[in-house]
């Protein structure tokens, strides 16, 4: 009888312990919805991460988890320590075999990547994050912080990014005394422009510049070249390769920015901070502002 009672008590304790452990385990599992509208569950913070977008690589490192990266996409070159990591392809040609071989517990991707379905079929967890606008940066940082169990670090990073952007914007507006230089930002010689609706356009607006390509034309419209002649910008942002031949385009030698040589060109390293919506947004904004301060009328 005694023996039977103690067995029953032990069984009850065992069941209670098991239930408790299961409950604790359930508490530790966090489910987050990614930007592809999929619910992804995490029972522990991932320790082997692959990023397939430079801005995601930069974000992971900026919140202090660079040592958890086991590979990145081929375009991720910052911070310098990621250059030595294996490169798992590009945006649309990720090397699935390499990814599988590295046994990651999370692959961070962009929403548009076809790789998501392929990884799901292979049982590799992935999480899609779309970062197109300035407003998306804070969301991306906070989400990656939550996934990696680094919410406080992510919060601090977001505060630092916002403070940097606000400070540079305020200084630029103060320096210009209300003057708004008109600007044209060329992303390709076709010509494709960065419109006011693009991430680059948002940075220009924050710096008090007036983009000649309005938001109604879309983020990166292919313009009729006469549009730039007609709107005669004060400053042109253009790649260093294309800048020397700008005056050879029909009618462009009469544009104020070309005549007065008010051109801004950046090295590819600086260009990365301008075109990638990520934690280095303030650096990109400062590069634009420095050039505007130098050449704008």
């Amino acid at each position: 009888m005694f023996c039977g009672s103690s067995s029953a008590a032990a069984l009850a304790i065992g069941i209670l312990w098991a239930l408790g452990a299961a409950a604790a385990h359930a508490d530790a599992t966090e489910s987050l919805r990614d930007d592809a509208q999929r619910d992804v569950a995490f029972d522990h913070p991932p320790q082997r991460i692959i990023t397939l977008l430079p801005s995601l690589t930069e974000t992971v490192c900026a919140i202090g988890a660079c040592d958890r990266l086991v590979a990145t996409d081929r375009y991720s070159q910052w911070p310098p320590q990621v250059r030595s990591l294996p490169k798992a392809g590009g945006l649309d040609d990720a090397e699935v075999e390499l990814i599988v071989a590295l046994k990651p517990d999370l692959v961070l991707v962009s929403r548009s990547q076809r790789i998501t379905d392929r990884l799901a079929a292979l049982g590799i967890p992935s999480f899609a994050l779309q970062t197109d606008r300035y407003g998306d940066i804070a969301h991306t940082v906070a989400t990656i912080g939550a996934i990696l169990g680094l919410k406080q670090e992510a919060g601090r990073l977001n505060e630092s990014i916002a403070a940097g952007v606000d400070r540079i914007g305020a200084q630029a507006l103060l320096r210009r005394h209300g003057a708004e230089p008109s600007v044209y930002f060329e992303v390709d010689r076709a010509p494709y422009a960065a419109g006011a609706a693009s991430f680059i356009g948002e940075l220009l607006t924050r710096l008090g510049a007036r983009n000649i390509v309005g938001a109604d034309l879309g983020a990166f419209p292919k313009l009729n070249p006469e549009y730039v002649v007609r709107y005669n910008p004060d400053v042109i942002f253009i790649s260093p390769k294309d800048a020397p031949a700008l005056a050879e385009r029909p009618g462009w030698d009469q544009i104020r920015a070309v005549k007065e040589h008010r051109l801004c060109s950046f090295s590819s390293e600086v260009d990365d901070t301008i075109v990638r919506p990520g934690p280095r947004v303030a650096d990109g904004m400062r590069a634009i502002d420095d050039c505007l301060a130098r050449v704008a009328p």
Partner: protein, 349 residues
Amino acid sequence: MSAPPTFLGLSVPGIESRSSSRMLLWLAVCLTITMLLTGASLIVGTSSIETSLGWLFAPDAQSSIILWQIRLPRTVGAWFAGALLGLAGAVAQGVFRNRLADPYLLGTASGAALGVTISLLAADTSIAGLAWAGKLGVTAAACIGACAAIALTIMLSRGVLQTANLLLAGIVVAFLLSAVTSLLLLTKPEIWRTMQVFLLGSTGYLSWTSACLLGAVFLICFVPAALLARGLDALSLGEDTAQSLGLSLPMLRLALLGVLSLATATAVGQVGIVGFVGLVAPHLVRETVSVNHRQLLIGAPLCGGALLQAADLVSRWIIRPAELPVGAVTACVGGAYLVFLLWRKSRDE
């Protein structure tokens, strides 16, 4: 006895006067359409038509630049590029005795695309041997690439005598060069956007210099082509018949392929790869008037020029102030026209 009818100093003997009159009427209509399109091109752009009309009658410094330095050379250049493609299409269809032949049959488009890709890649490279290619620019690189592709095609087909060999070599070269272009693009995907614009054609940066160059090359190609028109007529009866008429077939083919190559390479270099104009222009002439090759070689350039001018107008009007690639417009219109031809043929059968 009346003299045979003439146009541009070219007599058209052997053609009934009614047919010649119809051809002259057709040419007059084509020229009128070209004039109207040229006029329209001055008022179609990023501004509204009212604003553009205001600029015409009361121009200031800026509007003068837009009208006379941007819009007019653009439409004149587009006309000459279309004319070159029309001429090249007529020559290609005559040489290959196939009405589905187009100017890109000898691999010119793929060669031009490879030339542009190498030039874009070389612009960023530190390899000294490739630096010269980077300095060429898109226009010269496309032209050199197109010429190299034609040379490769002729080499592979061991001359110009065998039509089937030429066609086969052209297809092989086109596939081969396209594959090399794709492989090179994989190494630097960021040049895709520039390549896309080239592959879909663009008239956006045509200047007076480009228009003059296109015009000069058009004259250089048109005169020998017109002089060789009788040879094309003879060739259309079969190679044996042409030889029995005393024609030197190798010389005739070589000269005509020279015209075809120069016309296509120049047009591709200036406006990128614009599809269907070279294929459709000769068809449009044959559909509306009964012609021999001399008349076709006059009609197809006029028709091609007007076609590309119209496509240019549509491309800059439809989503202004942004613009569509002109090659996408010609592909839509040309494709629809060919579908119509097929539908009509099947209906008639």
